[in-house]
Amino acid sequence: MNPVWLIAVPLALAFISTFANKISNWLLILSAIFNAVAGIFLSFSSGTVSYSIGGWRPPFGIDLIVTDATRILLPVANILFFFAVIIHFSKKRASEKFSVVYTISLASLNGILLTNDLFNLFVFLEIAGVAAYLLAMTGKKGESKVAAFKYLLLGSVGSLLYLLGVAVLYAAAGTLNISAIATKVSDGLLNGDVMLVSSLLMIAGLGVESKLVPFNGWVPGVFTKSSNMATLVLASVYPVAMISTFSRVILAVGDRRALDLVIVLGVATVLIGEVIAFKQRNLRSTLAYSSIAQSGLAIFLVGIGTVEALTASVMLIINNALAKFVLFSVDSYTTEELGADDLESLYGLGRMAPVVGLIFTVSALSISGMPLFFGFRAKLLAISSSFESLLVVPIVILLAAVIEITYYFRWIFALYRPYQGEERARLSLPLELMAIGVVLAAILVFLGSSSYETLMTFSKAGNAMVDAIITLGKNLIGGV
């Protein structure tokens, strides 16, 4: 199957739904189902395949690339999106206004994951960005508009910086195809300073969406103020696309020197995220800062650049996506049912609604890297690969992990503490949330306790992250 359909179908459906507002919800669901199925279908094959668009051969025209990494990340992103859509629409109070936006964001996220062209990537980033700004302002209060505006400002600056980086690179390399540039870079055909400038500009540009310090000022506002559905998509689906693309681009066309910067910024992001998250007394802002820290964790591994590190990075991205999905949906559920999500109002929730407690606990333990859970395997690999760098890196990461464990356990304990306030009505858990939560938690446990062979898939993905693009580029250039 040509992966272009993953972009084209949602885009077409979005186009239709602008005219047929009544059925836009159904079109969104349709596109989500299609993409989920297609994503799974895509993952059955293996190896690196390039699909040219419009009949132009890759170095000259745009092409889509499917690597082993994409084969994991794409289905994960699409399925999570599908889940988010299900949870959202089951409530019957979905506003139809934003369905188009969701559909468009789905198309653009797939595009981001698939494209092998720097300018095409910019276009998809812009589309995804605009969709995200719109999603960010869906919150009930005015604050969400302010947050969205900040996001808009930062996002536009980031896009511009990225575009500037692309322009510089284009001027030097004469092509926009990532594989082609990567080949030239690895052959040492490009000027070092030019490379550095363009890498820095691209790190900054992509860093905005990848939540890298100091370009991530928008995150807390958007994640805490936006609507539940939007937060779910922005916090679990977006990072999958954004962080993996960050690593793809930077590894392929970035300057080696810039990788040091990636390590520094990544580690700083982890530390800052965890320390601030430790301070929060409100579940959603804790999760927001924890998201920042998690993306920092996934990104600093890119700076290390070994296969092991990239494997860990992919695993962390997926672990974060799955677990954050559950955590944010539990959070939105509690805010809706209990009206608040601070520490005290969550007391006794785990006893009152055992399934919510269970899936929350599993996800939180997985995020914080407890043994038996997927996050542990990911963190294990991350730490072991971080020894490639300076010794201080693993130490800082471990320190951050201790802080992370402490605050996650604070929340877990809060869930199981006896509640002393006024009588609360028995919480009824929506069936789909329960089902999805249990499935995701089960996946986390399964991956955490599965054998080494299962995790070889991730190793392949990590390999693909490092090798696939450049190998493809070699073939392309050879073809020319």
Binding site: L153, W218, I272, F387, L398, I405
Partner: protein
């Protein structure tokens, strides 16, 4: 049947017992106790002679390595003894399916940890038991979540430190087997050796509750369910001793650090660990003396005794190693017995505050006897096993000439008189409270494990040679000289003593005084309330029970000392303040500030990287 089968069986037992307990808790608890007793008997009797290894592959580089060596057998027997005794003991207490699930998980994790032959296996199983115990702690009591958070933090410091060590080893030495690491570490550079041993040492400190990572013990031990405290203190902290023994004795830390500065025959690193052990002896003792809750007091006594074990095993040498291992044995028994006695008292009275009880000796005589023998052992008085270990440790202190460590050891030993006596006086002696007038001894099923531990303590006190011979086998397997023993005598550097002789002489002395006592006029029995009151009349027994703040003058000496208890909470406040600062810097209210920040970052890094 092998260790692996046993391990798989205990792991599988957890969900099965959970389901069984949903159906009937009594059967589930009975099955649990049976399983633990069976594992103990099986391990104790079959593991003594044979040495075997078993491996399960998990990745291409990492395996689960299990094995029975004398060391594993020694620690496994102790840990399983405590767990199986507690498993019987807990039968009449409050039962729940969740608890039995977690208890089974704790036991399985502990079993896996003590039979491990490489660091990763050790850590994974240890973590299973740690996290299960963590959730177990918060089961029963109100204050426990706040206390458990401390445990989480300290435990994760330890865990990540050990994780770091493991990958560092894998990176630098290419192996994490105990035996392979032991051979390869000698040729590594000093930095590598230091990093590995110190980060493993942090794990030991965290899990054994040794200064400065001791703060979790008070809260966790005291707020844990009563039946679980013996396991927590008697069994789980002893895995820390297992790791410590591995890194000090099995990895030849003395040889490899001999090029570093050496104090009195002890390399600097080991000396530092011993010093930390010494500090925790002092801190644990002082804090234990000041506690008013019996379980908190014993928790601090665990800190102090863990300090002894850490000190002894870090000093190394023939006597201290044997003494440290002996102390592992008798502290496991004594602390489990003490916690059991307190649990028994709490089972009947519903409180663990010492000043809320009193005069229970005639109501609960077996519990009293258990507690008495346990504290005699903790205080290190001869006819119990506690004296043996202390004596051996002192021999090494004298041999190496270590006054500062000896100060700590003596402090802990003499100070232990003070703290162990406080519950004895507060709970068992003194005036009986009116509301406890109708108390009865705990049921037989609780009495039996307490009695067994008591008898074992006395047995190894009278015949320490029996235990020392086993310990000699353990130390011989790692190449340390044996302590010279005969049937009743132990010979060390500065002299010898004869346990049978001491016991006999004490018995003779006792009978002489009994003879005089019987010859004199028979005493008239009077009630406890018939007491000297300077002529005042007395009817309220509470007024005449002096146990609240029994050591007030001593307390006053330490009132102004900085509290390590507040260390963690102040640290957490510091982190929160740092968080606020970072938030103000990196997440300001105005978007132009972010953009400014981003620009500064880009330009700055360009100049840096160029």
């Amino acid at each position: 049947m092998s260790i692996l089968t046993l391990l798989v069986a205990s792991l599988l037992a957890a969900p099965i017992l959970y389901l069984l307990a949903k159906f009937n808790t009594k059967i589930a608890y009975g099955a649990y106790a049976a399983l633990q007793v069976f594992s103990f008997i099986y391990v104790f009797f079959t593991g003594r002679s044979n040495v075997s290894y078993e491996v399960i592959g998990i990745t291409e580089r990492l395996n689960f390595n299990f094995g029975i060596t004398p060391t594993n057998w020694f620690f496994a027997s102790i840990v399983l003894l405590i767990i199986s005794m507690s498993a019987i003991f807990m039968f009449p207490l409050k039962k729940s399916p969740v608890k039995i699930f977690l208890l089974a998980l704790v036991s399985a994790g502990t079993l896996g940890a003590v039979f491990s032959q490489d660091f990763l296996t050790l850590m994974i199983f240890w973590e299973i038991s740690t996290w299960a115990s963590l959730i177990l702690i918060i089961q029963d009591k109100e204050k426990s979540p706040r206390e458990a958070i401390k445990y989480v933090t300290i435990a994760s410091i330890g865990t990540y430190s050990m994780l770091f060590a493991i990958f560092y080893m894998l990176d630098k030495l290419g192996s994490i087997d105990f035996s392979t690491v032991a051979t390869r570490i000698e040729s590594a550079t000093v930095e590598v050796q230091l990093v590995i041993l110190i980060s493993l040492g942090v794990m030991v400190l965290a899990k054994m509750g040794v200064f400065p990572l001791h703060i979790w013990l008070r809260g966790s031990h005291s707020s844990a369910p009563d039946e679980f405290s013996p396991i927590l203190s008697g069994a789980l902290t002893k895995i820390g001793a297992f790791l410590l023994f591995t890194i000090t004795a099995a990895l030849p830390s003395f040889r490899i650090f001999s090029q570093l500065p050496v104090f009195n025959g002890i390399p600097m690193v080991n000396y530092t660990f011993a010093l930390l052990g010494g500090i925790s002896i002092v801190v644990g003792t002082v804090m234990a003396i000041r506690m008013e809750d019996a379980k908190e007091l014993i928790a601090f006594s665990t800190v102090s005794n863990s300090g002894y074990i850490v000190m002894a095993l870090s000093i190394g040498g023939t006597y201290a190693t044997a003494g440290g291992l002996m102390h592992v044995l008798n502290h496991a028994m004594a602390s489990a017995a003490m916690f059991m006695a307190i649990a028994a008292v709490a089972y009947r009275t519903g409180t663990t505050k010492m000043h809320e009880m009193g005069g229970l000796i005639l109501k609960m005589p077996v519990t009293f006897a258990t507690y008495l023998v346990a504290i005699i052992s903790v205080a290190g008085i001869p006819p119990t096993s506690g004296f043996v270990s202390k004596w051996l440790i002192y021999q090494q202190l004298v041999q190496n000439g270590l006054p500062f460590l000896a100060f700590a050891a003596f402090f802990g030993s003499i100070g232990s008189f003070m703290y162990v006596f406080k519950p004895l006086a507060g709970i068992f002696l003194g005036q009986l409270k009116p509301q406890h007038r109708n108390l009865k001894e705990v049921p037989l099923v609780m009495v039996v494990p307490m009695a067994i531990l008591t008898l074992l303590t006395v047995f190894w006190g009278m015949l320490p040679s029996n235990a020392i011979k086993t310990i000699n086998a353990v130390t011989a397997s790692v190449g340390i000289n044996a302590v010279e023993v005969t049937f009743s005598r132990i010979v060390a550097l500065t002299g010898e003593w004869d346990s049978i002789l001491v016991t006999t002489v004490f018995a003779i002395g006792f009978f002489i005084s009994l003879f005089i006592f019987m010859r004199a006029k028979k005493a008239r029995q009077v009630d406890l309330m018939d007491n000297y009151t300077a002529g005042d009349f007395l009817y309220t027994s509470e007024l005449y029970h002096f146990s609240y703040r029994m050591y007030r003058p001593f307390d006053r000496l330490f009132e102004k000392w900085p509290s390590m208890e507040d260390w963690l909470s102040s640290l957490s406040d510091k982190i929160k303040e740092l968080g606020a600062l970072l938030k103000a810097i990196f997440y300001p209210a105005n978007p132009q500030l972010y953009i400014g920040l981003a620009m500064v970052a880009i330009i700055g890094t360009f100049w840096w990287l160029r």
